[in-house]
C-alpha cells in the first residue's frame, strides 16, 4: 500500500530532533542531512507616538525531507533509472550502483531532497527509511519527534488528517504531488506569501 507522511505544523516547535535522529540513524556526515527544518517568519514591530510597541510577527517551522511524491520530478528526469519509486510503497530512493552522478534529480527536485555526494560518487537522499518500513516500523524521524508532529502511514489515513499540501516555503504541490499531508498552524502561510521569509537560510541552503 502506498505510504505518505503527515506533518502537524501546529505542533512542530522546530526542535530538530527529527533531523538529528535521521542523521544519527543513517550515519550522515556533519554536512549532510536528509531532513531540514525551515524557520519561517513574517511581520514586523512598530512603535507608536506613546512608545507602545506592537507587532505582527509570526513564526512557524516546516520539517521536510523527501516527500516521496506521487508524480516525482526526480524519477522523470533520471536517465539511468537509479532514482526509483517503489510501486508498492511509493517510496522514492536511489540505487547508488546505477547512479551516473549527473545531478539531474538534484536540479529537478523542487524540495532540495537529493544531493550529489561526490565522496561516494552518487546521489543520496531520504529513502523513507525503507528498511524500517519493510519491517512494519515507522521512519526514525517520525518515531523521534517528541511533539508527535510527524506521522507516516497509509496514504488515505494521512490524507484524512492533513488539510493541505501547500505551505510556505514549499513550492506549489501541483508540480510533483508530494505524498505529504499537512495540518497548518493558524500562522502558516501558503503560496509564497510576499511577507514570509526563511529565517535560517544559512542552515538550510
Amino acid at each position: 500500500m502506498t505510504k505518505a507522511f503527515f506533518f502537524d505544523n501546529s505542533r512542530c516547535t522546530g526542535c530538530r530532533t527529527c533531523q538529528l535522529a535521521c542523521k544519527d540513524y543513517h550515519d550522515l556526515s556533519i554536512d549532510q542531512t536528509y531532513r531540514k527544518v525551515y524557520d519561517m517568519e513574517s511581520g514586523a514591530c512598530s512603535m507608536d507616538e506613546r512608545g507602545v510597541v506592537t507587532h505582527t510577527c509570526k513564526l512557524y517551522h516546516v520539517a521536510i525531507g523527501c516527500n516521496h511524491c506521487e508524480d516525482p520530478a526526480c524519477t522523470k528526469v533520471c536517465p539511468t533509472g537509479a532514482m526509483e519509486k517503489d510501486p508498492e510503497t511509493g517510496l522514492v530512493s536511489v540505487d547508488g550502483d546505477k547512479c551516473l552522478g549527473c545531478g539531474y534529480c538534484v536540479m529537478a527536485c523542487p524540495y532540495g531532497a537529493p544531493t550529489l555526494d561526490k565522496t561516494v560518487g552518487h546521489t543520496i537522499k531520504c529513502d523513507g527509511c525503507k528498511n524500517r518500513v519493510a519491517e512494519g516500523k515507522k521512519p526514525i524521524c517520525v518515531e523521534a519527534c517528541p511533539l508527535r508532529a510527524l506521522d507516516f502511514g497509509e496514504v488515505e489515513e494521512m490524507k484524512a488528517r492533513g488539510e493541505s499540501h501547500d505551505i510556505d516555503p514549499l513550492p506549489s504541490s501541483s508540480y510533483t504531488k508530494p505524498s505529504l499531508y499537512i495540518r497548518m498552524s493558524p500562522d502558516a502561510k501558503s503560496s509564497q506569501a510576499a511577507d514570509s521569509r526563511i529565517a535560517n537560510p544559512l542552515e538550510v541552503f
Binding site: K76, V77, L100, M107, C109, P110, G112, H122, P171
Partner: protein, 284 residues
Amino acid sequence: MEALASHLPLILFTALCAIGAGAFLPMALRASVGGASPAKPGYGKLAWVPVAVLAIGFVAVFFHVTVPLNAPLALGGIGRSPLSNEVAVGGAFLALCLLYAVLTTAGKLSANANKAFLWVLAASAVVFGLFMGLAYNIATIPAWSSSAASVAMVALTLLGGCALGWLIVGLAGKSETTPKSVGYILLAVAVVSLVAAAIASGAESGIVAALPSFVHDTAAIAAEANGFIAGFTLCGILGVVCLAASIVKPSASRIASILSLAFVTAAIVLARCAFYLMEVGVAF
C-alpha cells in the same frame, strides 16, 4: 559564477556539439549547389573536423558525471528521461558522422551519395540541436522547460554550423567556386539564428526575473544573464559580419572565416553561460 564553474563541462558539450553538428549544413548546401569534381565530390579528411569538434564535446560531458562507466545505463531511460533522449540522439548522430567521415575519406561515396548523406547529417544536426534543448525540459525549472530553450539551442546549432561549415568549405578549396547564392543563404541562416537565439534567451531571462523566490534574487540573476546575452549578441554580430566579409570578398575569405568562427564560438559559449545561470527552480 560558482554555478557556471560546475556547469563548465555542459557549457563545452552543448557549445561544441552545436558547432560541430551544424557544420554539415553549409557542407551539404555546397555539395548540392555549384558543382563538384566527380572525382572528388566530398570533403576528404576535412570531414573529420566537425567529427573531432563533436567528439571533444562528448568527452567534455564525461567530466560532468561522477560515474562515467554507468553512461550506457542512460539508454534505459529513452522515452522517459529527456537526458536519455539526448544521449541516444547524440550517440546516433555521432555514429552517423563517423560513418560519413570514414566513407568519404576512403572515397567510397559517389557525388550523389555524398550529397544525400550530407543532407541527412544536416537534418539530423537540427534534430540533435532540438534534443540538446529538450534535455533541459525539467518542469520545475521554468526558464529551462520553456520552448525558448529549445528554440535557442537549434538556433545556436545553425549559427555555429554556418561559421564552422563555411570555413570547411573554404579549406576544401570550394569557396572560390561556390556560387554567391550559397553564401547568401548561409548568411541569412546565420542572421536569423542569431536573432532567434537572442530573442529566445531574452525570453528565458524574462521568465527568471518573474519567478517568486524566498532565497534567490531572481531579478539580479536575470540581470547577470542579460549581461551574457548582450555579450552573445555582440560577438554573434561580429561573427556574422566576418562571415559576410568572407562570402563577399574572396581575397579575405580565409582569415574572415577563421575570425567568424572565433567570434561565433565565443558568442555560443556566452549564450550557454547565460542559460546555465538561469537554473532557477520553482523551489524556495
